[in-house]
């Protein structure tokens, strides 16, 4: 799947990423850079999870931030109830996002095309409002966590550098898992559904179940990213579930290169760096980012990852609504 140039690019990017804590020491502003790189990696996990169903499965979910929120709130609510043990928090975050992804997926996947886009959007907005109305857990303002998840006897996450490497390990794990998944029989079926679901059904695959399974896997991966996000900032708020966040994750996927696993990682880095640069120059950075997105969609569909070897990324077919 990976060309040589791509492999070199991926490897050097990951090595560079791993060196961020060291490099930051020379540049200065160490705490900022480490936290920023951690945030990039967390969003990269979320973007990879979306790409699994969007790029490979042709399911245009516009509500993926919901799972970010579910994962974050699972950690946040348990923490507020006095359970800071990560051995409880993280499995609960995974279980909660799996259940909610199964429920949302079961209803949404009965529909096609633009209905699917709008329904996933509406469900994520529903969870957003649920978060806003949870006044016991901060409501609109969100809530602060007392500390990061505790893994007694395993690891202490309270140091930013330790946390950085844990997130890096999870990101690499997610990429490896994604790579194996995409190239497995299951992944082939999912990609077959993207190209022509009716034909897959005719061959005899129960496509609904396959797509639902992919949706749940993707939701869980994004839920893990949410749990990490809550740990990074020790803060949970409904704004993580807002639909603009879903849009941003989607932009990361497109910007990096849809249908390639590493593309979303580059996209996450690209978008967050762009946001950081623009917002340091003007408070009205969104007025610049918006048109950039428009131009990107109109003229640079292959994404950053497509630029690396100059070869056109395989254009995923079947996104137009045959689903």
């Amino acid at each position: 799947m990976l060309t040589n140039r791509r492999f070199v690019a991926v490897a050097s990017f990951l090595v560079l990423l791993a060196l961020v804590p060291l490099l930051a020491r020379f540049v200065g502003g160490e705490a900022f850079w480490i936290k920023f790189a951690t945030r990039v990696m967390i969003y990269a996990i979320a973007a990879v999870s979306l790409d699994l169903i969007l790029g490979f499965g042709g399911m245009v979910s516009f509500g993926h931030a919901a799972f970010l929120g579910v994962g974050a709130y699972a950690v946040g609510i348990l923490s507020a109830e006095g359970i800071a043990n990560g051995f409880v928090q993280w499995p609960v975050a995974i279980l909660a996002s799996a259940l909610i992804a199964a429920a949302i997926g079961a209803i949404s996947l009965m529909t096609r095309g633009v209905y699917f886009i709008m329904i996933t959007l509406a469900f994520s907005q529903m969870l957003y409002f649920l978060g806003v109305s949870l006044t016991a857990y901060g409501g609109d303002d969100g809530m602060r966590l007392a500390n990061r998840s505790r893994f007694p006897g395993l690891i202490d996450l309270s140091g930013d550098v330790t946390f950085f490497y844990v997130v890096l390990a999870i990101l690499i794990g997610a990429l490896v898992a994604g790579h194996r998944l995409v190239n497995s029989r299951f992944g082939m079926v999912i990609q077959g559904c993207r190209s022509n679901e009716r034909r897959m059904r005719a061959i005899g695959f129960p496509t609904f179940r396959y797509k639902l399974a992919a949706f749940v896997i993707s939701g869980v991966m994004c839920g893990i990213a949410g749990a990490l996000l809550a740990n990074l900032t020790a803060f949970v708020s409904p704004s993580e579930m807002h639909w603009t966040r879903s849009g941003e994750i989607m932009v990361m996927v497109i910007m990096g290169g849809m249908g390639s696993l590493f593309g979303p990682v580059l996209g996450a880095a690209g978008l967050l760096v762009l946001e950081e640069i623009l917002s340091s120059h003007t408070q009205h950075w969104q007025a610049i980012l918006g048109p950039i997105l428009v131009l990107l969609v109109l003229f640079a569909k292959r994404g950053l990852f497509g630029l690396i070897d100059g070869k056109s990324a395989e254009k995923p077919a079947g996104l137009t609504g045959h689903g």
Partner: protein, 306 residues
């Protein structure tokens, strides 16, 4: 907690539904005909409200300002169509979503640059600012009744336009087979621009009418946009009739649910539980409604014939 409260809230629900209908009609037309998912529809609504807020002090007359604001929304819609959206008709939905998402970011920020981050307020015109007694004990603002009247007029206008004019005929023909309509000598590009302009004007009208009720601020189009999506998904994408039924349904369920669900829950559970759970369930009610309807009718209540 009486019949009069219930009636007032039900009317508020209908009024909200009418606003949603104005949004949904434009969105569903644009989708049904051009196959374009336009997230920036909410931005046009917001711009309508801002145009009104800017024009009222200039013209000194609410009605003149309102007409001008709708005209400005129409013009803005056409400009946006010409510059950005025209190239998207043949792209897939994902491209459309992303591109119009970029437009939302742009518009939300532009209004902040021009009019500032604080909310603007518009007074309803004096002639519409009173109350009227509908039934003994039920008084209702004239302005909200006016909104319902305007919405009804628009519904009738659209029905007439769609079913009884040459333009409507072309629109329906274009929806079912654009290539054939083009081959018959109709300027389909112009037709599309007109339809998009009509949708933009309707969104602007909704924004204009919302101006005096809500605060005019950046991002005000986003929340109504999502509700509009819920409406057209429930109603069936591309169907104006479906949009009308679904928007009234959503408007009433949302408004009435917000007021009465906590009360109903309070009768069953302890006050502490109901005050916690009530608002949460109420804010989710229309999404649950949508899920239930889609479970039984995945194409919505009135699937458009395509």
């Amino acid at each position: 907690m009486t019949l009069s409260l219930f009636l007032t809230q039900a009317l508020n629900g209908v009024q909200f539904g009418v606003m949603l209908f104005l949004m949904a009609a434009g969105l569903t037309l644009v989708f049904g005909i051009m196959n374009l998912v336009n997230l920036a529809h909410g931005s046009l609504y917001m711009m309508g409200a801002y145009f009104l807020a800017a024009l009222v002090p200039v013209t000194g007359n609410f009605f003149v300002a309102a007409v001008l604001a709708v005209a400005a929304s129409l013009a803005l819609g056409i400009v946006v169509e010409l510059i950005a959206l025209r190239t998207l008709y043949r792209r897939d939905h994902l491209d459309q979503v992303l591109c119009t998402f970029g437009l939302i970011l742009f518009f939300n920020e532009i209004v902040r640059m021009i009019w500032g981050a604080t909310a603007l307020f518009v007074q309803p015109p004096p002639i519409l600012s009173g109350f009227v007694q509908l039934l003994p004990g039920v008084i209702y603002p004239v302005y909200r009744l006016t909104i319902m009247g305007v919405g009804l007029a628009v519904a009738i206008f659209l029905y007439w336009l769609n079913g009884h004019t040459r333009l409507g005929m072309l629109i329906r023909a274009g929806a079912s087979n654009r290539a054939m309509v083009g081959a018959l000598g109709v300027n389909i590009t112009l037709l599309y621009t007109l339809v998009f302009g009509l949708g933009a004007a309707l969104a602007g009208l909704a924004g204009v009418m919302a101006g005096p009720i809500l605060s005019v601020q950046s991002g005000m189009g986003d929340s109504i946009l999502i509700l509009t999506f819920v409406v057209i998904v429930i109603g069936g994408i591309g169907s104006i009739r479906g949009a009308l039924v679904a928007s009234i349904l959503v408007g009433v369920v949302d408004t009435v649910g917000r007021v009465f669900l906590p009360l109903v829950l309070g009768a069953v559970f302890s006050p502490a539980t109901s005050s916690k759970v009530g608002p949460a369930i109420a804010s989710m009610s229309i999404y649950i409604l949508m899920a239930a309807i889609l479970f039984f009718r995945p194409q919505g209540l009135f699937p458009a014939h395509r």
